[in-house]
Symmetry: C2
Subunit: 338 residues, 2 copies
DNA sequence: GAGCTTTATGTAATCGTTTTCAATAACAGC
DNA sequence: GCTGTTATTGAAAACGATTACATAAAGCTC
């Protein structure tokens, strides 16, 4: 409590233990010290309640033992799950994680990239928007970067992503198998993820000889709800109502469910619905929502593994880890007869 | 890219601009410098691509410009929302936030408290478990702490919390008004929050002359689901089925909905359900779930305000900000006749 | 124009560590 | 007992910034 007491440092510990500061430092980092002195120092540390100053340590030792993690939306359970995996792995390796949230906003991305440089992070795991991704190749960063969730086709960076085209195709195939033929698609307009999912959606529909009709919206529930409402109103007028809609992430999924509810459409009776990310609540709404489940923990772990291997050997060829999602079929795609 | 190039520092900028390092530093911190030199330095900064080293800066200036935020579960939307508010406020004040996640685990709490000391944070915002809260008075931290969501009755720390008894009473009153008379309660067993909500629940029931029957479980959906299933089975045998159940947070809420679904109980026909936290999905499950909405953004902002005021005047009396929740009535408490 | 204040700048000390380097002690080999 | 090697230890030099202090120049006042 007393404010005048200066924070105690390694020097105080050294005095208390009757040794030099070098010895204290060596004890702290498990260096070569005789057992006798080691014990004395450890006692002194306890007695003084010494806590190392990380800034000083990082400055002198020139490594931050910190990795950065920049995600686009921390409220998205996909990213919270990934961040947990990253944190666990980092902690095991004795590292800290700086978690930052960009809201899909390129300016914030730029700002946080700057911050990462100033913090002298050891490495960065990053889920960039399309805009930033395009410029990232040109940026010169002083640390390795692993992209997650989004990535360029053949980049300068390691990355770990879902097999998005395949996952989207999984949904389309499932819908087709359930008898749906007019399958609308709603996709986010900021991430490469959405682009890839759209591609898979289109390809799968083509393979079934079906017509694709897709729209792109900002990745919010509100935008999705509004767009779907507008869309279905138009469709109703033109007599071309879709019997199913698939969306590219869970926020959009929420918007679609909400729109169906306010429009008085039954799921799946009037409209089947399928989307991405097996969040806890998807099981609970309506008859349960059919979704793609991503291996979230694996994604985080893989990112850390790539990062560590890159740190180990900066010269190795860049790699792209592609993981598969699985389709969790629920009542929201119950079938046309149902 | 080239590895041998040493990171450029303030010294290099000074040489490039033909001034002393002191001048560069002054330009960087808006100190008194002539316009001519300022321009030269700014050019040099751009030319060299200089990025300050935060560790060095923090070490020398002796303030970290960093505030810590320790929450119990980052996946809980309540905390993600609060953390956003905190981050925004911190950013406006030119500060960084270190966000940590304890999983309601006292060991992790202790570890992160240690980390905060080592990072020499300017202040800490903390949602502790009951176990840690009890010991926190004795701990000596070198920085001010503001407790959120949970707090001791008359502590050494500033805090901002929901008026939990009142909020719980709000739910009970609403249920009572809808005609429910056997109102069961399910509460988490790690936080003081749950204790307070239980108190409010009990008091409100007593005021209505009703019998309270409450149980405590670990704060997970699984635990809640299992407990509710067991509970209702017993109740059915003894012929004393509750007609409504209220729970103390959104995870438990999910568990209860799940249990109702697997037991084949209609909501609200067979069992009314009400809980805490107006998350986006609560609107979508079943007939919509009746919940208490917390002023999440306000809570985060208030915490930052308290923290800054405390930093301003360390001697001021500790304060406790109590905010009110509102009851969002939905179909899940539709009424006994419905 | 002497004396005093203000302003801009540079020099060097400093923050709390780690790490280099030299010094000492202990011990083996001969 | 002398030399070479190996362990411990301490003194002092970094790390990259900020800032206290000194200095010089310029602007006042009378």
């Amino acid at each position: 409590m007393s404010d005048s007491v200066k924070a105690i440092g390694i020097k105080d510990v050294a005095r208390e233990a009757g040794v030099s500061v070098a010895t204290v430092s060596r004890v702290l980092s498990n260096g070569p010290v005789s057992d006798a002195l080691r014990a004395r120092v450890e006692d002194a540390v306890r007695a003084t309640g010494y806590r190392p100053n990380l800034s000083a340590r990082r400055l002198r030792s020139q490594h931050s033992q910190t990795i950065g993690l920049i995600v686009s939306d921390i409220r998205n359970p996909f990213f919270t799950a990934v961040s947990r995996a990253v944190e666990d792995a980092a902690f095991q390796a004795g590292m800290r994680v700086i978690l930052c949230n960009t809201d899909e906003n390129p300016e914030r991305e730029a700002m946080y990239l700057r911050l990462m440089q100033e913090e002298r992070v050891t490495g960065l795991i990053f889920a960039p928007t399309r805009a930033t991704l395009a410029q990232l190749d040109r940026a010169d960063l002083d640390f390795p970067v692993v992209l997650i969730d989004r990535s360029a086709p053949a980049g300068r960076f390691d990355s770990v992503v879902l097999d998005n085209p395949q996952a989207a195709a999984l949904l389309v195939d499932h819908l087709h198998g359930q008898g749906y033929r007019r399958i609308a698609g709603l996709f986010g307009n900021t991430s490469t993820t959405a682009v890839e999912r759209h591609a898979g959606y289109q390809a799968a529909l083509a393979a079934h000889g079906l017509h694709a009709e897709a729209r792109f919206v900002p990745p919010t529930a509100e935008a999705a709800e509004a767009e779907i409402a507008r869309w279905l109103a138009e469709a109703r007028r033109s007599g071309a109502m879709p019997d199913a809609v698939m969306v590219s992430n869970s926020l959009l999924l929420m918007g679609v469910v909400k729109a169906a509810r306010t429009l008085g459409l039954a799921i799946p009776g009037d409209l089947a619905v399928a989307g991405f990310d097996n969040e806890p609540w998807t099981e609970l709404v309506g008859p349960g929502l059919t979704v793609i489940e991503q291996p979230v923990h694996e994604i985080g772990r893989a990112a850390m593994t790539l990062l560590f291997e890159r740190l180990d050997d900066p010269e190795r060829a860049t790699r792209k880890v592609v993981l598969s999602g699985t389709c969790v079929a629920r009542g929201s795609t119950g079938g046309v007869s149902g």
